[in-house]
Symmetry: C2
């Protein structure tokens, strides 16, 4: 899915919502079985209920890996439920020496049919470049994250810049805005304006709206560009909008509510 196709989807759906499929068996509605079958039924219904409002889906690999090889099976099955016109993001935060990153790229871009993967920049160029070698795939690099721990390393001074600014500037040299996005937490709206000045055209993947406390309005005002240029993720607030039998309707309502707010920002 190339950049123009993402922009077309945003304009067609009047939404830049990414729904995060952070599914946990323990949190499934009581109407579903607490096992893989229940998890898959849940994901299928959530996807059907939200696909009119979601231009992207983000599968957080940790939630599936906690169940081991079965979890990987469920991740694969879940991917098959996703509509073709949505961007399929593996939120995997991988990164290793070059020959190893090549295998992660193969895992998520070939063995599993993801369109995009999140990567961690700590190991530098050869840890990220193998992902960039895949045509029509996206690499989404961690920059300024939504969690408290962002303050430990990302925002301190590094060669006269903040580390996350240095990461953005450096990683931008390795790929184009047609293949690179950055993760910027919605809880950092005050910094996002500056990031947008650094990279006016790149898409940003923005977690942290909803359960983590970030504001959709603040982040959009700070960082929307002419194409919107944002994929705002919500996971828990949509998935667990209701713990009853009406979970899918409740998820649809929550996604719709966000899309309606988003539509006000789309020209």
């Amino acid at each position: 899915m190339n950049k123009q196709e993402i922009i077309s989807q945003i304009n067609a759906k009047k939404s830049y919502l990414c729904t995060g499929l952070d599914t946990q068996i323990e949190k499934l509605p009581v109407s579903l079985s607490r096992d893989g079958k229940g998890l898959l039924n849940f994901n299928k219904e959530i996807i059907q209920a939200t696909s009119a409002y979601s231009v992207a889906y983000k599968v957080n690999t940790a939630f599936y890996e906690q169940y081991g090889r079965e979890g990987w099976e469920w991740m694969e099955e879940t991917l098959s439920y996703l509509p073709d016109n949505t961007l399929k993001i593996a939120d995997a935060k991988r990164g290793d020496i070059g020959n190893t990153s090549s295998m992660y790229a193969k895992a998520f871009f070939e063995t599993l049919p993801f369109d995009a993967i999140t990567v961690s920049p700590y190991m530098g160029e050869d840890s990220i470049r193998p992902f960039l070698e895949f045509e029509n795939k996206w690499v989404i690099c961690l920059a300024l994250t939504s969690n408290a721990g962002h303050a430990d390393f990302q925002i301190s001074e590094y060669e006269g810049k903040k580390l996350y600014e240095k990461v953005i500037e450096t990683v931008c040299k390795w790929g184009t805005e047609e293949q690179l996005m950055f993760v910027v937490g919605a809880t950092r709206a005050e910094k996002v304006k500056e990031i947008r000045e650094l990279i006016p055209n790149h898409f940003l993947l923005v977690p942290g709206v909803g359960a983590q406390g970030g504001s959709l309005e603040d982040i959009t005002n700070a960082a929307a560009n002419k194409d919107i240029g944002l994929l705002i993720n919500a996971s828990r607030s949509i998935l667990y909008a209701s713990s009853e039998e009406d979970f899918a309707e409740a998820a649809a309502a929550e996604a719709k509510k966000m899309a309606i707010e988003m539509a006000t920002f789309i020209k």
Copy 2:
């Protein structure tokens, strides 16, 4: 496996070798089938051949994930071949917001019976702390890596220090030397002496000897402490010592050669 048990194994085997199980189907000896069965037979024979010389085994998750859910099955099966008296390291380089890192910890410490996991520090404290909450498990944090990309972010000035020094100092505050190790590449021997001064007692996991060009002697001279305090990893040089039917004997010979050199440094 606690620190004293690792030290006891080093003294018993007169070796601080970690064998990396970076197995690829394409590289299997011609005598084995090029499928999961062949891969598992290979791993089993390699483990049997090297266990007299290896105090630890490192499973690089990328090599298994490239095969999807089957790869996870093979990783699980491979773990069952590892002797109880060896440290089982998941070289996974994970790290995410707190609730997500908890699930990675569950994946590798509960669902799979690893003793240790490598983590990336970029997302800070809450991305690492969940792994530290497991008793008798090890967190091995990336510090100064063996690849060319280490130069992009790790060694530049950060608050008057190198970023990797800042990472070591900061992460050390979150756990004890009984539960924390650091990854330091064997290709960085000139820096390792300073790292050892920063953390005199921590174990270091050292990749990069062999195929990547690091020297066992240099790294040992630079960084061995009273307990040795090193786990030196070799993967390709052992696994693919021969591509013929004698691969296991060749792997044993290569591991033995390293162990004999290591024994000269063990008091």
